[in-house]
């Protein structure tokens, strides 16, 4: 049995990578992927504790998260396609038309 700590540390590393990716990368697709990383880091924590405490609710929430993530990806990719058509680019730094 791998100790719970290892799962949690792995999850923290993945989450941090996601955060760093969102903050530092300018390609919108990579930002999306980083977001998925963060979601899945959270998922990892949920199933870890679900297994540890032997309850099902944690696994149940993971399914919800995955469904929401799928929906989010569908909407996000549609947005990306629309932005690419308008701007000929998926660079998030160039999406500043609403700058005050």
């Amino acid at each position: 049995m791998v100790p719970v700590d290892y799962y949690l540390i792995l999850s923290a590393i993945i989450f941090s990578l996601g955060v760093i990716g969102v903050l530092l990368r300018s390609n919108a697709l990579v930002v999306f992927m980083s977001l998925e990383l963060m979601l899945n880091a959270a998922n990892l924590v949920l199933i870890t504790y679900a297994a540890y405490y032997r309850v099902l609710s944690g696994q149940l929430i993971v399914f919800f998260v995955m469904i929401v993530a799928a929906a989010e990806v569908a909407v996000g990719l549609a947005l990306l396609v629309a932005i690419f058509r308008a701007k000929k680019s998926v660079d998030v730094d160039q999406m500043s038309s609403l700058k005050g």
């Binding site: 955060v19 969102v22 903050l23 530092l24 300018s26 930002v31 998030v92 730094d93 999406m95 500043s96 038309s97 609403l98 700058k99 005050g100």
Partner: protein
Amino acid sequence: MPIPEASQLVPWVVFIPLIGLGINLLFGKWFKEGIIGTVAVLAALGAFVVAVLLALGLKANPEAVVRPLAVWAKFENIRLEWAFRVDTLSVWMMLVVTGVGTLIHLYSIGYMHSDVRHNGDPGRFRRYFIYLNLFIASMMVLVSANNFFMLFVGWEGVGLCSYLLIGFWFEKGAEGTANAKAGKKAFIVNRVGDFGMLMAIFLMAAAFGSLDFDVVFQQAAGASSDLLLAITLLLLLAVAGKSAQLPLFVWLPDAMAGPTPVSALIHAATMVTAGVYLVVRSQALFIASPTSAAVVMWVGALTAILGALVAVSQYDIKKVLAYSTISQLGYMVAAAGMGAWVAAMFHLTTHAFFKALLFLAAGSVILGMEHGHKASASDADHSVDDPQDMRNMGGLRGKMPVTFTVYLVGALALAGIVPLSGFFSKDEILTAASHFPAIFIILGVSALLTAFYMTRQVYLVFFGRTHSHSAEHAVENGAIITIPLIILAVLSVVGGELNIFPTYHLEHWLEHTLEGIHPSLMVPWVMVVSSLLAISGIVFGVLLYRRYVRESSLQVDPLRRVIGPFFTTLQQRWFDRAYQAVLVGPYYAVSNWLSEIIDHRVIDGFIDGIGKVTIWSSEKLRILQNGYVRSYALAVLFGAVILIGYLLLH
């Protein structure tokens, strides 16, 4: 029973003019000038016919009749009712107002036809006649009222019409605002008087529980003398405002900004006599308060001499008549204060005839001058002659013979020459004044001055050389102008018959309504003195001005050579200056301070400050919205960290 039927007609003195103005108001747009004028004249004439019928009814049965029309408002302890009072005094006022008013309406058709074209807005012809009919209706409300409340309604109504008609050419006058300012001044000064009226009404309502004339006058006998003194002095304030007495007369000379027939109707013949009517109507109050009556007498007498003094120094043909009106109103008020009620009403009537005549004739002169100005405008000389300045006139006797004749009649009547109407009415006042030596002397000197300034005016206007191109090309006006003049001239001549030995018609007419009438007397020595005063005034005027008006260019007024710098002193409008210094100036200063400091700086500063803070903070906050999605993401991260950190540590 013809008598009650006649008095039932009384609401029509108000409603016929209202119908006339309604027709012109609703349909006048499609009428020609002739039809508008005819409707207005018929409305005034209709009111006159009703007044005559009422008079015939009263002749058969002179008892006062009260005709309630409507209840205005009911309160727990007082009831305000629109009721008409038909008695000899109110019907007499109706006859004078509508009679003279009809003639002035007729004259106005001709005068306004030229005036609206001269001033460049023919569309105002209709408006003028609407106002004029409204005035007649308001004046009828005033004189026919059975209580002080409706009297006040009419009082305000005529004040409104006066304001509207003074400012009739509101965009004209010096600097484009002089006429509007004149209207405003008349309105505001009258407000001061109206304050007195309102306070008197409140006092009466509180003390007597009713405003009906009968009730108030009946209870006045038993009221405390302090209360009566307060009421009557407040009423005197109202009289001073409306009838241009000291110290509130300052609006009347400025009121000459209105069209000349308006000056004749409102500011000479009718509205300004409302104050005299008020004193005579409230005679019971003034009899019960001798102190007030004495004050009224002195106010009238001092006004009489002040008006006459200033009139001798004026150059504007209408201003002379305006100050003369102030002076003559002073006579009436003084007579009312002396208890010579009939003499006051008599002078009111004859004055309505001859002063309306003088004003209308002056209007005829002005029209002739304006016509002459147009005729001579093709000349190389384009000098703008003021058509009202008497120094531009002269020699109009031959050019405007009818106007000259009637003007002479009016001037002689005003000066008080036998056997014209002014002689008899003024003589009656002087007879009553013979019991008060000081008053007699003041009024006597005023009579002398009156004769003098009218002689001066007649000489400057009609005799000698012409002193401008306008005067040279002046022409006589048409029949619509001259016929009312001739009728008024006839009335000015025979008006004295109304109340002379041995018939005394007016006295016997009014004795059914007024109390304490002393039988009129013809005192020979008073007649001789007043004639001598009038004649010496005329002789003095002739001596001074006979040669002067023949000079080709007018130099220093000969009167100035006689009285020196006092002449200029008279022209200074001291009362206006005093009001300016004491009331108007400080008031403007306070207003300016409130406007400049409180409004512009404090209030505006507060509001502007809120705006500026918003703008400043927005300027600073917009930096956060830099448009980089990743920086927003960083902000979200920080937020999340802070929230979670809080939850963990809490």
